[in-house]
């Protein structure tokens, strides 16, 4: 970095020394300078051409860089193209010119540097705003003092405010590296960098040395302001990671909120239902790859309902085949379903193998978007949205569908519901199936961010129970808030305590929390609960 800075400084010195005589020899034609055999003269020609505003400048300098610029003994310049030579000054095809009459314009390192810098400035005038923006950003990073005039001209004609902003920042960076810049200009430049407020601006300000006191003070306060700003973005980024983790926890726990929170069934095989959902995704993708590769982008949309069905049916089978015999004996249910989780894991291991399965990410879920100082990856963003959709869909289903009404009736007053003709065992099975199906859908989402292996579910079971207990049993809003709280807390603790220790701290806090409020954040009150 400092080597770069030093060489840049050197460049600036050379440029300054060079510019003075160029100015004195006013109105010298840059093209004739290029035709010279003197490297200094050629370099001056490149620099002059760069600021000339001539629309042909870019192609001439680019040709020089590629060794495609030739000179005739009469000092006329030609560019060698794919279809022969063209005159450099007019761009008109010169079919009569042949290679043997020409000699190439030679370059040395000083000229090459001048070319690089000139091309950088010239792109500032590109018709494409994106190109102009990138060029300005490059100038900003290079802190090229010689680019100031080009930037000034580019700024004068720039109409896009976003590009103009980057240009002003580049100019500020350049001004700060200009040795004879006035103090007021420097302070103005510092203000612009301060507004930019990112890590590059900060390092640029931090690298300033030997400045007059007023400038140094301004730089120091700008650095402090940028640090504050960066911390804010970092905070936002952590919050986003926390939100993302929270949505994953929510997905994993929301099915449990039904089976454990509402039915009071403790299902240790819940994680394995999630795993089934992930393997369903794998199978769907493999089938699509084999038969209809064009559908790959839609694979997850196909996998979600299938995973719901697979896990839901598995859940109903578990309820009918095992859990119903153990109602009223929660500890036995816990042990039996733990056994079931071992069986499911081993079954999947026997069928699919013990190693991780590759589940692909569709294109629309890859990549990330930049929001100020935030990087939001699309797969995480999708999962957050998906978790919310599942949450609200589930709430709506429970509240507005006839099945939801029956489920609520049975969990609230089994005898009364039975007396009113609701087939309670059937509702039990369906409720459990619903919770399990939601777990399966969670598996589809988790297959995008976690290894799809037989152990996938194990990692989530304790967290899921914690979320449900923390949020308050039997309350979907509580589950959602519990998941988000846990996710965000976890992510904010990570930078302070490290990932593992952060998790331990969260677990300990949770254990303490359950001690204080054994019924969660949103306890249900009433006589019935007291009993």
């Amino acid at each position: 970095m400092s080597a770069l800075a030093r060489s840049l400084l050197l460049l600036v010195v050379i440029a300054l020394v060079a510019i003075a005589p160029t100015r004195s020899r006013a109105q010298t034609d840059p093209l004739s300078s290029l035709a010279s055999t003197n490297y200094d003269e050629i370099r001056r020609g490149v620099e002059a051409l760069a600021v000339s505003g001539d629309p042909r400048s870019a192609s001439i300098i680019a040709a020089l860089q590629d060794g495609r610029l030739f000179v005739r003994p009469d000092k006329a310049l030609f560019i060698k193209g794919d279809s022969g030579f063209v005159a450099a000054d007019t761009g008109v095809s010169a079919s009569d010119v042949t290679a043997d009459a020409l000699r190439p314009v030679r370059v040395n390192n000083a000229v090459r540097r001048a070319i690089d810098s000139a091309l950088g400035s010239l792109r500032l005038f590109s018709p494409e705003p994106a190109t102009r923006s990138i060029a300005a950003e490059a100038v900003f990073k290079a802190r090229d003092a010689s680019a100031v005039p080009a930037l000034d001209r580019a700024l004068a004609q720039e109409k896009d405010p976003a590009v103009a902003r980057v240009m002003r920042q580049a100019r500020a960076a350049a001004v700060l590296t200009t040795l004879d810049a006035r103090e007021a200009d420097r302070i103005a430049a510092i203000r612009i960098l301060r507004e930019r407020g990112d890590i590059d601006a900060r390092s640029m300000l931090a690298s300033l040395s030997g400045q007059p006191p007023a400038v140094a003070t301004a730089a120091a306060s700008a650095i402090a302001a940028i640090d504050r700003n960066l911390r804010l973005w970092e905070f936002a980024q952590d919050a986003y990671y926390g939100l993302s983790l929270g949505s994953v926890l929510l997905l994993a726990a929301i099915g449990l909120a039904i089976t454990f929170g509402v039915m009071g069934v403790i299902n240790m095989a819940h994680g394995e239902l999630v795993m089934l959902g992930a393997y369903t995704t794998y199978v769907v993708q493999e089938t699509i790859r084999g038969h209809w590769p064009g559908l790959f982008g839609a694979s997850l949309f196909i996998a979600v309902p299938l995973a719901f069905l697979v896990a839901g049916l598995a859940g109903m089978a578990i309820e009918r085949g095992l859990i119903r015999f153990l109602y009223g004996r929660p500890l036995e249910t816990l042990l039996a379903t733990f056994g079931l989780s071992l069986l499911l894991q081993q079954a999947v291991r026997s069928i699919f193998g013990a190693s991780n399965r590759q589940v692909g990410t569709p294109d629309w879920m890859s990549g990330a978007m930049q929001l100020g100082g935030l990087t939001l990856t699309y797969n995480r963003l999708t999962i957050i949205v998906f978790a919310l959709v599942v949450l609200f869909a589930l709430m709506a289903a429970l509240r507005y569908t006839p099945l939801g009404l029956r489920m609520r009736a049975v969990t609230q007053n089994r005898r009364m519901a039975a007396a009113m003709g609701i087939r309670t065992p059937w509702i039990d099975a369906l409720t459990f199936g619903l919770g399990s199906g939601v777990a399966g859908m969670a598996g589809v989402a988790l297959s995008q961010i976690d290894n799809v292996s037989p152990n996938l579910g194990q990692g989530y079971i304790i967290d899921s129970f914690m979320v449900v207990v923390f949020g308050g049993v039997g309350n979907l809003w509580g589950t959602a808030l519990g998941a988000l709280t846990l996710g965000v807390t976890n992510k904010f603790l990570e930078p302070i305590a490290g990932a593992v220790l952060g998790k331990i701290v969260v677990l300990c806090l949770l254990i303490l929390f359950i001690q204080r409020r054994p019924r969660g954040m949103f306890p249900l009150k009433g006589r019935a609960v007291e009993a």
Binding site: A347, R414, R415, V473
Partner: protein, 382 residues
């Protein structure tokens, strides 16, 4: 009647251990009666597991606390012993550092962490074997029982406890050897661990420890304290209205049980020659619970029986049909809870130490209108 079963169990444990030791030392290797060092260390391992099972049964069978974190106490006892054995290696380690264990030298540590001091003294290490699990159980139990966390909730936070410890012990900077744990022990109380004689002594010591734990547990559950404990298990609030403080009773038995588990772990480590964080895995704790369920919850002797039988099965399966072991273990969980709620001891024509409250037989439960507990008042539409 239950006294006779306990006597039979004690005779089997102590007599069996003696016979194995004799078979190892006094017979020729070709003899049919010869017990190989492998068999001795296996027997020693089973006996330690049986101590853990006894500890689980004490809290689960008699106080209704289904601890899914008891392997944590076992592992802590093991780590305390492991720390002693590490210090005992002295300068014989790979790096030859007289004070620092190898893994600390490897991590470039210069001094011994404060909590490693004293572990070179056998008496101190033995004290820690008892104290560390005991104090953890005391603190955890005090918090949990005082705030009346019971049933499934308690089970889940005990599981979270062992999970947190698992994560913590995986860390290198905790100073317990991280992922690899501690191994390459040389000797114990001056006896080389590689010698057959030492292994026999350790195995016999485990048998004696198990017998003492069994007797102590029996004394506890037959005392008036034990009667209160069962009252707490079956009807905590009724006990409270009689003027007892269930939290104190649970705390005492929880700490006692944790100490037992710690002793089991301490005997386990020198016999298997390694202790690492995987001992904290929640699955280990749950496996210990199934030993008890197989043998018969609330029967003490059943816990010992279950631990030995299930582990015999595990040794057989993992050797012969490793693919099938998890299937077998999983099926065991399901089948025992469904069809054998009283375990093997329930099949015997004798009364258990302290019968469990009547649980509905599976067929009965299905026929009755039993439904999920349902959180009364749960309003998930709001």
């Amino acid at each position: 009647m239950s006294a006779r079963i306990t006597c039979i169990a004690l005779v089997l444990v102590l007599g069996g251990a003696l016979l194995l030791a004799l078979g190892n030392l006094a017979t020729a290797e070709q003899s049919a009666l010869h017990a190989s060092p492998y068999v001795i260390s296996l027997a020693g391992k089973y006996l330690c597991y049986a101590i853990l099972a006894l500890a689980v049964d004490l809290v689960w069978g008699f106080a209704g606390i289904l601890s899914l974190g008891h392997a944590a106490f076992f592992a802590l006892g093991g780590y305390a012993m492991g720390m002693y054995l590490m210090r005992e290696i002295g300068a014989r380690g790979v790096y030859g550092n007289p004070v620092l264990p190898d893994f600390m030298v490897f991590l470039n540590w210069k001094t011994l962490p404060w909590y490693w001091h004293g572990f070179n003294i056998p008496g101190f290490a033995l004290l820690m074997v008892v104290l560390v699990p005991g104090v953890l159980a005391l603190v955890f139990g005090y918090l949990a029982f005082r705030s009346r966390v019971t049933g499934v909730y308690l089970s889940i936070i005990t599981q979270a406890l062992t999970y947190a410890l698992l994560l913590a012990f995986f860390r290198n900077d905790m100073g317990f050897g991280g992922n690899n744990g501690m191994t390459d022990f040389k000797d114990m109380f001056g006896l080389p661990l590689q010698l057959d004689r030492t292994r026999d002594v350790l195995m016999l010591a485990s048998a004696v420890a198990l017998s003492l734990c069994l007797l102590l547990a029996r004394f506890v559950v037959h005392s008036r304290f034990g009667k209160v404990l069962i009252a707490v298990r079956d009807s905590e609030s009724r006990t409270r209205f009689l003027g007892y403080r269930p939290e104190n009773y649970k705390l005492v038995v929880f700490v006692l049980s944790a100490v037992m588990a710690g002793i089991g772990g301490a005997l386990y480590v020198p016999q298997v020659g390694i202790i690492n964080p995987s001992e904290f895995a929640p699955a280990n704790s749950i496996e210990a619970v199934i030993w008890v369920a197989v043998g018969g919850r609330g029967t003490l002797v059943g816990a010992v029986l279950g631990a030995v039988l299930v582990n015999l099965g595990k040794t057989y399966f993992t050797g012969a049909l490793p693919e099938l072991w998890l299937f077998a273990l999983g099926a065991l969980f399901v089948l025992v809870t469904l069809f054998l709620p009283r375990g093997i001891m329930g099949l015997l024509p004798v009364r258990a130490e302290m019968p469990l409250p009547r649980a509905p037989a599976p067929a009965q439960a299905a026929a009755s209108e039993a439904g999920p507990e349902g959180v009364a008042g749960a309003d998930f539409g709001r």
